[in-house]
């Protein structure tokens, strides 16, 4: 019973952590809107969440067969697996930040972050309600 509760709490916690990471990425894109040569990055959220909750393996891992090989971090959140945005309008300074899209993504991510917060609050309230004595009203 308690296992089920903590399982759902665990899932939402992972989602919250990923949301905050994506928020940081989008903030970096907005901050670098005028930096020449900057390439906007974003993560595949669904894949990152699947990997974080253990329902799929981290993909993109490189084999290390020699002692000198470096194993870069794998998974949708690692630098090599982050996605590049293709801009709708090309820029002369090869900056690929599309401010409208970034703003929309940022707002979308903020709302979903808040939604996750509410889900966690709901789970906590459910757990507290379940622990109450039936006489307590």
């Amino acid at each position: 019973m308690l296992n089920r509760l903590t399982d759902s709490l665990n899932f939402q916690t992972q989602a919250l952590a990923l949301r905050s990471e994506r928020q940081r990425m989008l903030a970096s894109n907005i901050a670098n809107a005028d930096t020449p040569g900057y390439q906007a990055r974003d993560m595949d959220f669904a894949r990152a969440l699947r990997e974080a909750t253990g329902s799929s393996l981290n993909s993109g891992a490189l084999n290390t067969t020699q002692s000198g090989h470096i194993a870069p971090a794998a998974g949708a959140r690692s630098e090599s697996q982050l996605l590049y945005a293709t801009s709708a309008q090309t820029n002369l300074d090869s900056n690929s930040v599309d401010m409208d899209r970034e703003r929309a993504n940022f707002a979308d991510n903020s709302v979903k972050y808040e939604a996750t917060l509410r889900f966690i609050n709901g789970s906590v309230r459910t757990a507290l309600d379940a622990m109450k004595s039936p006489n307590a009203g």
């Binding site: 919250l16 952590a17 905050s20 990471e21 928020q23 940081r24 990425m25 903030a27 970096s28 907005i30 901050a31 670098n32 809107a33 005028d34 930096t35 020449p36 900057y38 990055r41 959140r77 630098e79 982050l82 401010m99 703003r103 940022f106 707002a107 903020s110 972050y113 808040e114 917060l117 966690i120 609050n121 906590v124 309230r125």
Partner: protein, 138 residues
């Protein structure tokens, strides 16, 4: 907590954009100057932005901005024939600064929009963090 780094990322962008605004202001102020303290006409200045990684271990997910250099526009200044002017040269021409006011105005609008965007990023993040602080209460 990765969200706290947003403040340093957006903060660095705000500071870089305000430096750009500052440069635009000095360019506009000097649009009609003839000679600076060194006897040379004022040259328009331009900030150059560069990505500065702010996270631990050069994490590319938190990329701030910094002003790498302030470059001077080397195009020759505007020359106006005005032999009565005290700064006129032997041929009667006065060299003004090479500031293009239209370009500077565009630069100013772009800088102020970016500034606003980053301020909004910070305030949204602050609201989210404040709500995260109340997690589990209520």
């Amino acid at each position: 907590m990765s969200m706290f780094q947003i403040f340093s990322v957006a903060g660095s962008a705000v500071s870089a954009q305000s430096q750009r605004l500052n440069v635009v202001a000095s360019n506009l102020a000097n649009a009609d100057t003839v000679a600076g303290p060194d006897g040379q006409p004022y040259k328009a200045r331009q900030v150059v932005f560069q990505t500065a990684l702010m996270g631990a271990g050069n994490d590319i997910a938190s990329a701030g901005v910094r002003v790498s250099t302030i470059s001077e526009d080397q195009t020759p200044g505007r020359r106006v024939l005005d032999p009565k002017h005290p700064q006129a040269d032997a041929e009667g021409y006065v060299t003004y600064s090479n500031v293009n006011t239209v370009e500077e105005m565009v630069n100013m609008i772009s800088a102020s929009r970016s500034y606003q965007n980053n301020i909004e990023v910070m305030s949204t993040t602050k609201n989210l963090l404040l709500k995260t602080l109340q997690l589990g209460q209520s």
